[in-house]
């Protein structure tokens, strides 16, 4: 006997698909380079916003989105590996994969903010570090790509494994938010917050994440505008010097 219940709330699903799309686009724009490197930078800021959103949502989102629900503790992991784990949402191994992906993406975005490509691109926080350190972070930014590709490969392999071996479709629930589960499990599924409460939490998360993205992408720099103006004045003085 199965029953269909809501598992992934709408913000969670939006986050997931926007992340998948923007990470793909960031990868492609970085590979092509040229004019597209500026879009790579913009995508990076957008991904930063998504990551902050997901972290906030991990505390105030609905049950399946919260870190406490799926945090892969040792007890949960061993129960899962012995086949004793029961639950809905991320299983402990899936939870581990989610945290690994969020961590790797955070490293990727964090290093990217300070990176430079030795051609015509500098991350928005490049000016706050020296060139040698930026070069080092750029190196990490390059090598983390392999970590991410590995994790994404595992992510996709798990989806295929569930589809063909365990006969479970993981993609449809991530689209519709609903999942058919055995009726005895439905009891442990907490109801989603009321739409009103959900909306308040969503707006709060959105405010926090967009503030961080705005601050990092240009807000902080604007606070240094005085310095920039001074620099410009110096520069035109030099031009006036005639060489």
């Amino acid at each position: 006997m199965k029953v269909t219940i809501p598992v992934w709330d709408l913000p969670h699903r939006l986050f997931h698909w926007l992340l998948a799309a923007s990470v793909t686009a960031a990868y492609i724009t970085a590979k092509i380079g040229g004019e597209l490197i500026d879009w790579h930078g913009r995508l990076g800021i957008f991904i930063l916003g998504l990551l902050v959103f997901r972290i906030v949502w991990g505390f105030i989102g609905s049950k399946q989105s919260r870190f406490v629900t799926f945090f892969p503790t040792f007890g949960r992991l061993s129960a899962y590996l012995q086949g004793r784990w029961q639950g809905i949402g991320h299983n402990p191994l899936g939870g581990l994969s989610v945290l690994a992906l969020l961590l790797a993406l955070s490293v990727q975005v964090g290093t990217g903010l300070f990176a430079n490509d030795d051609i015509a691109f500098e991350g928005p926080l490049f000016q706050f570090v020296d060139k040698a350190f930026s070069d080092k972070l750029t190196g990490w930014h390059n090598s983390t790509v392999n970590v991410l590709l590995t994790l994404l490969g595992l992510h996709l392999a798990a989806i295929i494994f569930y589809r063909w071996v365990k006969k479970t479709n993981l993609i449809v629930p991530m689209l519709t938010g609903k999942k058919a589960i055995p009726i005895d499990l439905a009891a442990i599924a907490a109801p989603h917050p009321t739409p009103a409460a959900g909306a308040v939490r969503f707006i709060l998360s959105l405010l926090i994440s967009s503030s961080v993205a705005w601050g990092v992408s240009g807000g902080i720099t604007q606070l240094y505008q005085a310095t920039a103006a001074q620099h410009q004045a110096q520069q035109s003085a030099q031009v006036n010097a005639g060489f």
């Binding site: 092509i32 380079g33 040229g34 004019e35 597209l36 490197i37 500026d38 490509d117 030795d118 051609i119 015509a120 070069d135 080092k136 750029t138 190196g139 390059n142 090598s143």
Partner: protein, 153 residues
Amino acid sequence: MKRKLTLTLLLTATATAAIAGPVEEQIRFRQSAYSFLAWNIGKIKKQVVDHPETYNKDYVAAAANAIAAVANSGLGELYGDGTDQGIGWKQTRLKPEFFQKKADVTAVANTFNEGANELAKVAATGDVNLIKTQFGKVTESCKACHDLIRIKE
């Protein structure tokens, strides 16, 4: 005392000569060339892409001409045998495969040269959109070469 001084000077001269050998000299000159390119690339980026409201035709044209001049200066001469190892201003990041990939290198180098010449041409017209597009093509050729023969940090 005098002998000691002579000896010191002689040793210093020998050491300097060893540091500034022909290989190191090539590496140092090419590192300088790319630093100079970076400066001029940055100038165009600033006035054409990031802050088009500050665009100054002469300023950008001067930068584009400088880029074309470096591109046409015969940089290939600075990539002699053994220059994948050595310290110029700093350790070179040239991949040893450079010497096996000469055909590919020539192809990307030609793309860069043609792109740089075209950039100088469009910079003279003062058409910001044309400059922006051509600038993107040039930086793409920079990346193509980095991907091919430059060791990642």
